[in-house]
Amino acid sequence: MSDLSNAAASPGSIGTAKLRFYGWWIATAAVLVVLPYIFRSGGALTAFSLVGISIIFSLSYNILLGQTGMLSFGHAVYYGLGGFLAIHGMNLIAGLKLPVPLPLVPLIGALAGLFFAAILGWVSTRRSGTAFAMISLGVAELVASSALILRSFFGGEAGVSANRTKLLRVFDLNFGSQIQIYYLVAFWTLIAAIAMYALTRTPLGRMCNAVRDNPERVQFVGYDPHVVRYLAFCFAGFFAGIAGALAAINFEIANSAYLGAVQSGTVLFATYIGGVGFFIGPIVGAIFVTLLSLGLSDLTSVWQLYFGIFFIAVVMFAPGGITGLLMMHRSLLKAGTLGRVLPSYLIAFVPTLAMVAGLMLAIETIVHYTVNPGDDPNTKAFGIPFDASSPITWVLATVLIIVGFFLARKSWTRVGRAWDDATTVAREKGVHA
């Protein structure tokens, strides 16, 4: 994103920069259109729809975490309320036969998200940092618990359902099939992503960054950080509402799990794993996490543990997330010194992989012993059969972990040296690292 603004500095390159900018969005749109023709199965379409919803949700979350620096543990509140109001809206429209087609229903969710963010946000955004995180957690618990008490509106445990095909039809689209839902989700994802990208370019978006980096300075300049945080919060609620409404349309049901802590945690994971420093980060994270949760749950019973460990690893070793890691290499790529780092990466990769494999083997063996001890010891994880009772497995796991750990430590030090080397050369060539 930053190279766009750099390129715009020289007058001759404005045209190419614009071309590149619009080219990106048009290419994305083209990919979204073509995607269902490549992956035709119903499962793939459902997965893509979920990914789209997750992208909007993560991007909206990044307005808070990445742009304004507010760590929220209760973002699912606006997602869930958007979903609930969308469901009720659909029922109302179908009941009264109002001339509102389904593609406009996400707007109901968006307005609902905006409305509740506007109410709850004023209190929440009075403090920033850790206190804000705790308050958002409290508000989330408040709403989630209320959802179980106010049964007629939230439908208790079972939730509220609706029929998406009963709404007014435009161009003879009934939205019965998954492919039509996919295109609906894709359409809204693109719209929302463009809108949110545009938001980061507005003066408000810039003020959000300023509030994140130095709230005191913002006060000196004459802005109220509370108001800026509040506005960012409202926008985040608005887009989260769109995501919630789309989820409600996709599943044709809204239940209290939409509002819960798990949903808030998932979006936090997705956004952070993707990387909060770049606009593209949450998109990458949403795709990664959604596909991972869909894929891993088939492969192993304790995928959530892997998920948690992976998240901890990202926080510890790659605070910039996946995109942050990739973007680190851009300056090296420009200077042409990437080749110096790659061999040491390859060397480091082998013991790290060994360590991870050993850990996974150990976890799976322990899981096998504690969760279902009576079963056949010849068990399977990740499609690879192994014998949980044989001592070879135990020894192998231990050796892999210990040897892998020491070799990985050594080799990563090497990577660090190669990295310093490469960046020094890059700096000498005049590329900013």
Partner: protein, 299 residues
Amino acid sequence: MLLFLMASGLTVIFSMLGVLNFAHASFYMLGAFFGFQISRWIGFWPALLIAPPLVGAIGAAVERYGLRPVHKNGHVAELLFTFGLAFAIEEVVQIIWGKSPVDFRVPPVLDFPAFTIFSTNYPAYKMFMLLVSIVIFAGLLIVLKKTRIGLIVQAALTHPHMVGHLGHNVGRIFMLVFGVGTALAAVAGVIAGPALVTQSNMAGLLGPILFVVVVVGGLGSLPGAFIASLLIGLVQTFAVSMDGSLASAFGPLGPGNKNPFVADIWNVTIAQIAPIMPYFLLVLILIVRPMGLLGKRES
């Protein structure tokens, strides 16, 4: 009171390290499960002595190898780290002890009613819990305020570099503080385990309320945490025992309730909304006093 025991550990860690330990409730849960496992092998009393140092050691290791490398990335990263940790600990507990509650019993020595009020028996174990909490609170206060160790710990909080120059290992002090904080949570876990239900979601149940206590009391304030935990404990207890609703309060004067949504709000009893009272209190307090009851102004 149990709430306070937990909140005190959390507050101590927060005011010392500036880290709000999201996994605090998870350490409490670990304490309960360790206590259960050890009491099965060698009895309850050794468990009460052994489990907290074990959990404290885990906590110290987490601080040393997990939190300290993350520290340079700022508070948000630290908070996220403990959040991920809470997630992972819950999963591990589920794997080892399963999802259903384990059979963690009150030791037979204390399994008798202490006294009887209005034909309700007050179990002696509750008295014991109260006693332990008070002893620990008093001990903590004395150690922090009256001893040389407490002096160094407080100094390390405000002037870490100066304390470092004086020859103290600041890193180790922080590690110890974190370990003691998590050990306190584990004590709470061991004594709460038999009284409440020991299962893998107990961290998730207690965690949010704990943070409400800390925020309502004012971040980093030990007396504030004390007042807030009493307040929230009382509010919850009274709310559960009251059986009234807006409908019964207004009686026949109430409007006719045609709309089911309004009827829901109208007929909900105070006992039903007891679980959300703490959060309600949180929002109220924040409207009136954003820094919490005894909190300092945001610096």
